[in-house]
């Protein structure tokens, strides 16, 4: 069976959930081959095997990790050349999309970014589904040119476990000087919040300007639900929450099972980052707030009374 290359997203071998989703999607198209760049492949192997990776290509050269995007695109192009995969799947992170873009040009292959689904195309290649214009349209596209390149949004594909051989092959990559032009001279890991990561979490609870800067009730509710905490841009711009937690067009795009918006009006730029959430809930004082147009359940009320009561009730029900 033909290979499907999957770029592994990981932090020092700790494989992100989106990779398991990519491997699950890849198995619909062909035989998944994980492409592991950087250190930590040994730690990652078990997870990759458990999600159906038949092969694991190990690319360990420091040239790949010390420079921005271009070397990985180059290395992937070499692998595409060698393996003629039916598709290349990448995570829809900034980096994943940029690698995809460069790879498309290098290999003359079609590219679809931010897909929420992927399957074999009727006329060969792959077919994708995307959600565009802040979720108001669903677009079906097909890519037949070259080795179709698709970046998949996190939380789009339910993970299935499947045993894979994870046969390892160390790949000797040649990185050109040109690809090493942008050097990463410093890298600061973000300190873990102790909560699930925003893009991976099954539940996200976000606070906006309505919190007045007090995220306490939002965090307490999030913790009762085991959720990640997000914020609107208004809350971020006010300095109440870090930019890395901003949900929306210019922040993180999330697609959890449940999204709770507290004290957020629901501006179009905010919706662009959460509208594909499966279930949407809002708490807002203003019955006219546009966020209520989206909700499955809404409470018109003050978040400072509604959220603590809901938190107590959730904790009581958990026992």
């Amino acid at each position: 069976m033909a290979e499907v290359l999957v770029l592994v997203d990981h932090v020092d071998g700790d494989v992100r959930k989106s990779t398991a989703e990519l491997l699950t999607a890849a198995a619909r198209l062909g035989e998944p081959s994980a492409v592991f760049v950087g250190a930590g492949a040994d730690a990652a192997k078990e997870t990759l095997a458990r999600h159906g990776a038949a092969k694991v290509y190990r690319l360990e050269s420091a040239d790949l990790t010390d420079h921005l995007v271009a070397p990985v695109a180059e290395a992937l192009a070499q692998l595409v050349e060698r393996t003629s995969p039916v598709a290349v799947l990448l995570p829809s992170t900034n980096e994943g999309k940029e690698i995809g873009g460069r790879l498309a040009i290098k290999t003359s292959s079609g590219l679809v970014t931010d897909a929420v689904d992927v399957r074999p195309g009727a006329a060969g290649g792959v077919q994708t589904t995307q959600s565009v214009f802040a979720g108001s349209y669903t677009v079906t596209a097909s890519v037949t040119k070259g080795s179709p390149i698709v970046t998949l949004k996190p939380n789009s594909v339910p993970v299935e476990e499947a045993a894979g051989a994870a046969a390892e092959e160390v790949v000797d990559v040649q990185v050109s000087d040109g690809a090493k032009a942008a050097r990463i001279v410093e890298r600061k890991e973000k300190t873990a919040s102790g909560r699930p990561s925003l893009t991976e979490a099954a539940i996200v609870v976000s606070g906006g300007r309505g919190t007045g800067g007090d995220f306490g009730p939002v965090e307490a509710f999030a913790d009762a639900l085991g959720a990640a905490v997000g914020a609107s841009r208004a809350a971020v711009d006010a300095g109440w929450y870090p930019h890395s937690s901003q949900v929306g067009q210019t922040g993180v795009q999330v697609s959890p099972q449940l999204y709770v918006a507290a004290g957020i009006s629901g501006a179009i730029q905010h919706r662009a980052g959460m509208q594909t959430s499966k279930t949407i809930v809002a708490v807002n004082k203003d019955p006219e707030a546009p966020i209520f147009e989206l909700v499955d359940f809404g409470v018109v009320g003050d978040l400072f009374t509604v959220l603590p009561q809901a938190t107590d009730e959730v904790n009581a029900r958990k026992g």
Binding site: L68, T113, A181, V185, I203, A272, E313, V314
Partner: protein
């Protein structure tokens, strides 16, 4: 320092955006404007030139109406503008867009810095800058939340969900900026008047030596087969808190097995 800023003319996100019969974005019935996210790139270019010397050229590829995006950038303070427009361009994907922009940057010539926005507010793929760097063979220095240019090199801060990176490259380079980098200025009255006299060149594909078969809808490497308006969400249940709002919320979550 000579800076080219790539700006896109996009349908207003506040408007009711939709698709044409051929599944391309409807750019006629919704008012267009300079993509808000590209204003940050224009602002950054102006700041760099103000603190040193050089010239800011704004470049767009689009329909003739896209001149409106250039005009706004000229009013903000850019020195000159280039519009690449051609019937064959309609429906171009990011691959074709990056080809045309790359050829235009080469034709402008002597460029030290190519600045772009974070993403176009319509397509929002955030891939054109990386593709431009690939095509121009220049360092890619993207998603800058901070930018300094010094002694022929550029240094940025790039944040991701897991880390914060400092990236460095020598000029010329392609740099994309986020909306964290600055606060774009509004055109002043003086700027609006001055813009009327600033040069705007219009180039066709032939002027760039790009073959029409390489761009447009038919050349696209991925094909949109269908677009479907999302069915309106079935109206959810909305309750007014009269002392039980929080409990009702928790009950709803329990009924959906989130608790």
């Amino acid at each position: 320092m000579n800076i080219v800023v790539c700006v896109k003319y996009v349908p207003d996100a506040q408007g009711d955006r939709h698709f044409e019969a051929d599944n391309t974005t409807d750019r006629e019935s919704v008012d267009g404007l300079l993509s808000e996210l590209d204003e940050y790139a224009v602002e950054e270019a102006l700041k760099l030139v103000e603190s040193g010397d050089g010239e800011v050229t704004v470049l767009t590829m689009g329909p003739e109406d896209a001149a409106a995006a250039l005009k706004k950038a000229l009013q903000m303070g850019a020195d000159k503008a280039v519009l690449v427009t051609d019937e064959a361009i309609a429906g171009s994907d990011s691959v074709a867009t990056s080809l045309v922009l790359a050829e235009a940057v080469k034709k402008i010539g002597g460029v030290d810095l190519v600045l772009t926005g974070l993403a176009s507010t319509d397509g929002s793929m955030s891939v054109v800058p990386a593709m431009l760097a690939e095509r121009l063979g220049l360092p890619q220095v993207t998603f800058a939340s901070e930018l300094t240019v010094e002694g022929g090199s550029v240094r940025i801060r790039r944040d991701s969900e897991t880390d914060s990176q400092t990236v460095e490259a020598s000029l010329p380079a392609v740099v994309s900026v986020t909306d964290q980098i600055n606060e774009p200025r509004y055109p002043s009255f003086k700027g609006i008047m001055a813009a009327k006299k600033k040069p705007v060149e219009t180039w066709s594909l032939a002027d760039l030596g790009v073959d029409a078969s390489q761009v447009g809808l038919d050349a696209a490497w991925s094909k949109v087969e269908a677009v479907q308006a999302r069915p309106p969400r079935t109206a959810g249940e909305i309750v007014t808190d009269e002392g039980e709002g929080g409990r009702r919320l928790a009950e709803f979550l329990a009924s959906r097995t989130f608790v």
